[in-house]
């Protein structure tokens, strides 16, 4: 139970960081994000992505544009806002610190 909880916490943080990183590259559509996350085995189902994107957008980290689609309804293409870019830079720094910390901590085990 505790292990599960920790795993979820770790995944959650990383998931947000990854989403921001993917969107940082280009304007992205949700299903493209999901494809990458699936490849990275971070997410399994699409449905969980939408609440995340909505929350990030409402926190001011993301913007989106409606883009007409040939198949189906118009799509939301997400991009980072200036705020989002700043947050991503901070997260980058934090991530490198974490990697260092983990390496240092676990490195002694090996």
């Amino acid at each position: 139970m505790i292990a599960e909880n920790t795993q979820t916490q770790m995944r959650k943080g990383i998931l947000e960081y990854c989403i921001l990183s993917i969107i940082a590259r280009d304007e992205t559509y949700a299903s493209d994000i999901i494809a990458e996350l699936k490849k990275a085995q971070l997410l399994v189902v699409e449905g969980t992505l939408y609440p995340l994107l909505t929350r990030l957008k409402n926190n001011g980290l993301l913007n989106y544009n409606w883009v007409e689609s040939t198949s189906g309804p118009p799509r939301k293409y997400y991009a980072l806002s200036d705020e989002g870019r700043k947050v991503l830079e901070q997260l980058d720094t934090t991530w490198h610190e974490l990697v260092f910390a983990v390496h240092t901590a676990i490195g002694k085990n090996n």
Binding site: K12, E46, T48, N58, G72
Partner: protein
């Protein structure tokens, strides 16, 4: 061959097979319920719906198909993830996917109204599910509670408002205490399928068609009423409309009961107005046409109210046409027979009989109402009176068969001869003079004299089988000069031209229940204080 349904997902139109639609609908309902607590629920669910629409479009164009089948929906659900998956990965920390306050009160079962096993609103079935009892027991409990001043009814209504209906498959499973797993979904689906099969079979065979029809009818009503309680706008208007609706329903039911009584049990009594006017041969037709002419407008009002307040398509064009036609037909038939009946009152005829009376020994005449009913052979049979019955039958009931207007009156005049005479004029209406005369003759009036006591029947009786045609009898009692006529309170209202109360006042005997009049050359006059009536004579008369 499969039935398809046209659906609209955020502006995109799809054709979808019926079973696929069921799966999709319950999936989307579950998803919406899941995100209901989230602040962005609308945006999230719209995103998801858009994505589903897009996936459908891609599938259809990729395989060049036109209709979405169940496999497509399943694929989409797989990709999108079930509510279970959301719960695992959810970082928006929705504590309880089902926001239902009744959920998980007593263990794993949730309280829902059961739409699959309902007679009325599914409350009893839902409670049965919750307590793991057969709904029959719950229904029995409610039926028993009804006996206590309708407690069961009120309780039912309250529960039915408060308890939500199980809408999605997830709800139904929670209701029955099943786990929200794929296996559970499968079990549930199979159970549903077999339930559908059972229902089809039971409908075919023994079934309880009336019960089911009643159930559908009532559940419709309750469903709409439920919708009404769900919305807050125009509440007052709707409450008012509901009241009218209930009134109309009661009216309609009353009409049906009356018609049934008339047609099947022949309850409409022979002598009761307005039934007594109508000849027996027209009776059924007139009842049915009056029923149709009144019932259909009530039905139309009911349907219109339903349509107005609940926005349902309760009246289709064709059913409205049928109703109009039936109504016009009923009206026409009613008018046809109505005219026939009315024609029966065109002519008037009368005939007169004069009966000589005996002189009373003391030249005094006591006018009394007959308190003995003369029974016909039929009456004797009905009341089980043996031939040779020696006693008297007293009619105590003042209103005995008094549901027709008074048809007897008495006028008192001076006799030209030395002995009293009673002139009886019978009068009636009919569609011709002959018929009117026939109607006048089809009557019976009893008058008896016992020395000084004259007894009059309260009313002119119709001979059984004759319908009411304003039959009347006018009696003129001619008494010799100086004869004394004693009138009591009972008969007073039948006697014209005398003022009993005034006469009592003049005699200063207000508490006395009779008054005496004397025949003078100028007609009947109140006799003041000179006549001595022996008390014992009066008592004997009584």
């Amino acid at each position: 061959m499969n039935k398809t349904i046209i659906i609209n997902i955020n502006g995109i139109v799809f054709h979808i097979e019926e079973d696929a639609y069921e799966v999709l609908k319950s999936y989307i309902t579950d998803v919406k319920r899941h995100f209901l607590n989230s602040a962005d629920s609308l945006e999230i669910t719209t995103d998801i719906e858009n994505r589903i629409a897009e996936m459908f479009s891609e599938m259809l164009s990729r395989e060049n198909r036109q209709v979405i089948v169940e496999a497509d929906v399943k694929a989409v659900v797989n990709q999108m993830g079930t509510v279970e998956d959301f719960e695992h990965a959810d970082e928006d920390a929705i504590p309880n996917p089902h926001i239902n306050p009744f959920e998980h009160i007593g263990g794993t079962r949730a309280l829902f109204r059961d739409p699959d096993d309902h007679l009325v609103g599914g409350v009893c079935a839902g409670l049965g599910n919750y307590f793991n009892l057969s709904p029959v027991w719950m229904r029995l409990v409610f039926a028993l509670l009804m006996a206590f001043a309708g407690t069961g009814f009120v309780l039912y209504i309250i529960l039915w408002i408060v308890i939500p209906k199980a809408q999605s498959r997830a709800d139904r499973m929670a209701m029955k205490g099943q786990k929200l797993t794929l296996q559970g979904f499968k079990d549930n689906l199979e159970e549903e399928m077999s339930a559908v099969k059972d229902r089809m079979e039971s409908l075919k065979g023994e079934a309880k068609p009336f019960l089911y029809r009643l159930r559908d009818f009532i559940s419709e009503l309750f469903y709409h009423t439920g919708r009404f309680f769900g919305t807050t706008g125009k509440l007052l208007v709707k409450i008012f409309a509901i009241f009218i609706l209930i009134d109309c329903f009661l009216l309609a039911i009353t009409m049906i009961v009356i018609l049934a009584m008339i047609l099947f049990w022949n309850t409409a009594p022979d002598g009761m107005f307005p039934f007594s006017i109508v000849d027996n041969e027209y009776f059924g037709w007139i009842s049915v046409s009056i029923f149709g002419a009144l019932f259909i407008p009530v039905l139309a009002i009911i349907l219109l109210i339903l349509k107005a307040i609940f926005n349902t398509e309760s009246i289709t064009r064709s059913s409205a046409m049928v109703m109009l036609t039936v109504w016009l037909f009923a009206l026409g038939t009613g008018m046809y027979y109505g005219t026939k009946v009315a024609k029966g009152f065109r002519s008037v005829a009368s005939f007169t009989q004069t009966a000589p009376l005996l002189n009373s020994s003391n030249n005094t005449y006591y006018l009394k109402l007959n308190d003995i009913k003369y029974l016909t052979g039929e009456d004797s049979a009905r009341l089980d009176i043996k031939p040779g019955f020696k006693g008297t039958i007293n009619i105590d009931d003042e209103d005995f068969e008094m549901n027709e207007p008074q048809n007897m009156d008495i006028t008192i005049e001076k006799s030209d001869v030395a002995s009293p005479v009673l002139v009886q004029t019978y009068r009636a209406k009919g569609n011709s003079y002959q018929n009117a005369l026939y109607n006048a003759r089809g009557t019976r009036y009893q008058f008896t004299q016992q020395d000084s006591i004259l007894k009059f029947d309260r009313k002119l009786e119709r001979i059984s089988g004759t319908s009411w045609h304003d039959q009347e009898i006018h009696l003129v009692l001619k008494v010799p000069l100086n004869a004394v006529v004693v009138i009591d309170d009972e008969i007073n209202r039948y006697v014209y031209g005398v003022d009993l109360y005034r006469c009592k006042e003049d005699n200063k005997k207000d508490d006395q229940n009779w008054a005496a009049f004397k025949m003078t050359a100028n007609g009947l006059e109140c006799k003041v204080d000179t006549l001595v009536i022996k008390t014992d004579t009066l008592n004997r008369v009584k």
